[in-house]
Amino acid sequence: MATGTAFRFEAIGTKWSVELLGGCSEAQARQVEATIRHRIEKFDKVYSRFRKDSLVKRIAGKAGTFRMPPDAGPLIALYEKLYQMTDGAVTPLIAATLESAGYGAGYSFQPGQVVAPPAWEDVLSWDAPELALKRPALLDFGAAGKGYLADLVGEIIKSHGTEYFYIDAGGDIVCRSPAGQPFEVALEHPADPNSAIGVAKLQGGSLCGSGPGRRKWGDYHHIIDPHTLQSPKDIAAVWVTAENGLLADGLTTALFFCPPAELQEHFEFEYAIVRPDMALEHSPGFPATFFTTD
């Protein structure tokens, strides 16, 4: 693997690691890092439901029409599609549910009366770049936002002239490896962060992972089914590889609610699912070898 530079930081509530491959001076790397951190802050200031100063927080304050930044297009468009395909299970309006279950800005993790989210058509109307709210509502973009942001970080790296890179946004990967030298990525054991259940090989695109292992409290974890107001219990870990982080991240959430075969009719991706009993299901093309026993 070519030598390069790497830097780590914490942002949007998770831990980032960025590797720039190839010859890149220390000064250039610092420049790229600064640009990336600035971009992430800008994104967070629009989409975070955890910050008092975000656009999302302003939208939650009153109804009206809001002009979204250009990057909202692909993000909201994907949410629209996933909302339809998952029968409303993947929705930005899940914010109210998550907050009432205790996953809000204060990280209280004390569930109160858990509320169901309203239907999309009752609240939202999207006509890029304008998002119209019929009534105030808190929005959550956690299902696909991190993967999307990793894509945007990748664009910054490429625009600074670095062709090969590895972005790890808290376990969601966007990367590009030199030909014939794929990155080897351990797939974390759902119950043991010091172990792996397989190794994926990535040439490019994105690998995103999701699971209840970390963000869980009481009977809940960070994914709540709007129809049952409970967190799905039949998946211990799920991974998706796709062309970009936006899609891979969004699909890891969708797979908690929708069989892979149905989603594969609309999107191109590979997946792997580990059940709580450690049973493994994966698409034949998922680029990993697994450690299995019968």
Binding site: E10, G13, T14, K15, Y107, S108, F109, Q110, K146, Y166, D168, G170, G171, D172, I173, F183, E184, V185, A186, L187, E188, H189, P190, D192, P193, N194, S195, A196, I197, G198, V199, A200, L207, C208, G209, S210, G211, P212, G213, R214, R215, W217, A237, W239, V274, D277, M278, A279, L280, E281, H282, S283, P284, F290, F291, T292, T293, D294
Partner: protein
């Protein structure tokens, strides 16, 4: 079963049924032969009964033994599995062609350590059916220590911030109080 072969609509179901039967037979043979003494490790499995299938001899590439399975005979208890790697391949007829599927399992410490399926279909329809089988066959995953794997890149559920971890620890201690 011969009637199946003539019906166009059930030809897809027929192929899937064949693959499943053959793979199940292969797996049963592998497990049964793994129990057997060394001298029978080279036994050619009996034909699976109906249809036209051919199989390659069951080979045991066990530790310290050659591929022909003529290593030393170790005393075996009635319920022990002989450690090693076993592979069996089957060919099966599909319309106008013959396709193959190979199953490998390893026995370690007296039990099955891993099973893998090698898809060797060349025809597109066969590839699809073998894909279907492979994705529905149910393996179970086990963990290997990251330190043993010597990999420093990991993907999993989103890492959490310090603030998040502290909050979780806080409610956990409150729950215990």
């Amino acid at each position: 079963m011969m009637e199946f072969m003539d019906t166009a609509e059930s030809s897809k179901g027929k192929v899937i049924a064949w693959i499943t039967v053959i793979a199940a037979v292969v797996i049963v043979y592998l497990v049964m032969t793994a129990r057997a003494h060394n001298t029978s490790a080279n036994a050619i499995p009996a034909a699976s009964g109906t249809g036209n299938t051919t199989s390659s001899p069951l080979t045991n590439a066990g530790p310290g033994s050659s591929n022909s399975g003529q290593g030393s005979t170790s005393p075996s208890s009635s319920s022990s599995y002989k450690d090693g790697t076993y592979t069996a391949s089957e060919n099966y007829d599909v319309p106008h062609d013959v396709e193959g599927l190979s199953v490998t399992l390893t026995v370690k410490g007296g039990s099955v350590d891993s099973v893998s399926i090698k898809q060797t279909a060349s025809n597109r329809d066969s590839q699809e059916y073998q894909d279907l089988f492979a994705s529905n066959y149910q393996p179970y995953v086990v963990g290997k220590k990251l330190s043993d794997l010597q990999l420093n890149r990991v993907s999993g559920a989103s890492l959490t911030s310090e603030a998040f971890n502290e909050a979780l620890a806080r409610i956990a201690s409150q729950a215990q109080a």
